[in-house]
Symmetry: C2
């Protein structure tokens, strides 16, 4: 068993043993779970990440309001421990079905719906200071990668540069892969698969010595973890290429600073050094894309104003300028808008120009 797996398995065992010890002393077992409410999420200026604050709550075994949830938490812990000990993984839905049963001599089910078991996983992540991936619970895979990188995964040696048009499908759990060779100068994260395809076909990652990652919208946890690993282990700059709209900007901020709902794992999955390469609202004017804009709707403007409230946007005059420009002009644009200038404009003119000028926003 790998050290990491053993460590997590031990944490789960300790949690269980503590409960038994307390019961033997006729005490009231409890687990301490940091609060994940909005009021307990703070933006840490130093690390530039969304983090959980200090507030926490105790869940007691002998408390009518807590006891079912306490039992369920223990069941989830036990399930994860057996995954780790057997060296297998499961989806959170597999877990729900596996744990669902009727308690003996009753009509009471352990779980009635998946909505009951899902939040307990996050509780365990927080309480045990671990990651869901380390509990061997998989998340939906999404994201593709290409580049001059050789990895080892489940005994296979995989060259991300030799996968044809397909690329490597980023799995849910990337902390178990080993990097054998990483030949790249930066990581380019593209919000859209169509953008990935375009750049991949134009051999952008070869010409510009980068690792190309397509997230297919908001990146999966696996993709965020991979970006974080490439940045922290290989000191590769990370440039995020997303639509010029509130949603694209938000995707960038999630990669960089984490999200409110996953604030408890920001330190593992966020990449504070990530920078935004485009598409900016100014780019629409600088690169003559006015014919390819989309008019903003009310919801876009509302969201842009919300982003202006977040200190990880409003402390930077460049973001304030871009967001105000969007609000004032009422325009947004997708990365595909660059095709208006020709299909290869993205890979041969726009991105090379932005890289040369180092025109990034933090």
């Amino acid at each position: 068993m790998a050290d990491d797996v053993k460590k997590t398995s031990n944490k789960l065992a300790e949690m269980g043993e503590d409960v038994i010890k307390t019961l033997e002393k006729e005490g009231n077992p409890s687990i301490d779970i940091p609060l994940r409410t909005l009021s307990n999420v703070v933006f840490d200026k130093k690390t530039k990440q969304l983090m959980l604050g200090d507030k926490s709550a105790k869940r007691y075994f002998f408390n009518v309001a807590h006891s079912k949830k306490f039992m369920q938490t223990m069941m989830v812990g036990g399930f994860c421990k057996s995954l780790l000990d057997e060296g297998i993984h499961a989806s959170i839905r597999d877990m729900y079905y596996n744990l669902k049963r009727t308690l003996a001599d009753s009509n009471e089910n352990t779980f009635d719906e998946q909505g009951e078991s899902d939040p307990l996983i996050v509780d365990l992540e927080v309480a045990l200071d671990t990651l869901r991936e380390h509990l061997h619970l998989t998340t939906d895979r999404k994201g593709i990668v290409a580049g001059d990188v050789i990895i080892e995964d489940r005994g296979d040696e995989i060259n991300w540069g030799k996968l044809g048009s397909g690329g490597w499908s980023i799995p849910s759990t990337v902390d178990e892969i080993t990097f054998k060779s990483v030949k790249a100068e930066f990581v380019l994260v593209v919000e859209k698969n169509a953008g990935f395809e375009r750049l991949h076909e134009d051999k952008f990652w070869q010409k510009f010595k980068c690792i190309l990652i397509g997230t297919g919208g908001q990146p999966s946890r696996g993709t965020r973890l991979l970006i974080q690993r490439l940045n922290s282990e290989y000191k590769l700059p990370v440039y995020v290429f997303a639509d010029s709209d509130s949603y694209g900007f938000y995707i960038y901020s999630v990669i960089k600073s984490g999200s409110i709902s996953l604030a408890h794992v920001s330190d593992r999955i966020a990449t504070p050094e990530a920078r935004f390469i485009g598409l900016t609202v100014s780019d629409i004017y600088n690169y003559d894309l006015k014919k390819a804009i989309i008019k903003t709707r009310e919801v876009d403007i509302k969201r842009a104003k919300e982003l202006l409230q977040y200190e990880w946007f409003n402390k930077n005059p460049r973001w304030v300028k871009e967001l105000n420009l969007m609000i004032e002009k009422g325009v947004k644009a997708e990365i595909e808008a660059l095709s208006h200038r020709g299909l290869k404009f993205m890979s041969e003119e726009y991105l090379p120009d932005k890289l040369r000028k180092k025109d990034f926003i933090d």
Copy 2:
């Protein structure tokens, strides 16, 4: 230029030349486009596929109601021809942005929204008897594959059995890949990525000598084309493994017989020999999954009754039995329900048992 590409490029050139010739003779150019309305979709009993009927309509250049659409169709055709001639691909959104412009001396745009250009692609597919993929227009990629298969794609040799936990991400265009070695006895298509992960981790494809494909819901065109190629070129039986609900059954029928909206390409992307391996409603009872069922809602029953109207379901007594059982008992189940019997129950008991008994539905 490959022969296929040249052939499609020539078809497009001919279409344009015909228009010019007609104009030179002071005639009224037109293109003939088969109707894609529901009334023109038929189920072909012999091929077991949904096909377009004989009805078609002419689109004229000199007809006020047609002329803009005629011009747009020619623009789309011209765009695709340049893709083919340059040997590059584009998404349909790229195409829209590329073609969108304001006509000289007017306020009239060539296209105002993507909703105008998308249907013209299908028109061209039908009119020229080709595939969108052959016009070099990409679709969203989705789907993963693993197995003892070696392919060549864009000059890279890729072994689907040596890609670790990730698998090969199925690209939008699979007709350009070359199979070098295919060592498999059948293809197992799994509706859900979680099911793919489970079976992949349990090395199911190695133990049972199959090619494992995860579709992540309704399969993409690329995935359907790949299934079709493996079946037609290597005579591999195809077994579809989907949820025991109307949506899962429908996914199976789309793989097997095509869909109403894509009836014009059924002969290229459907696999009439595909068979359904499970999950059936009977399986819920035969494999003791009653504790892991979901109660049907009104919409499930309504959909099940609709499926019973389709002759590609109601001609088979097994499907009639399964659908009626669902309606009568009011139950459905996801493939993850098998985890109720243990995480490896799917790969070590359920699927081997179904394969051994050849318990498939056509």
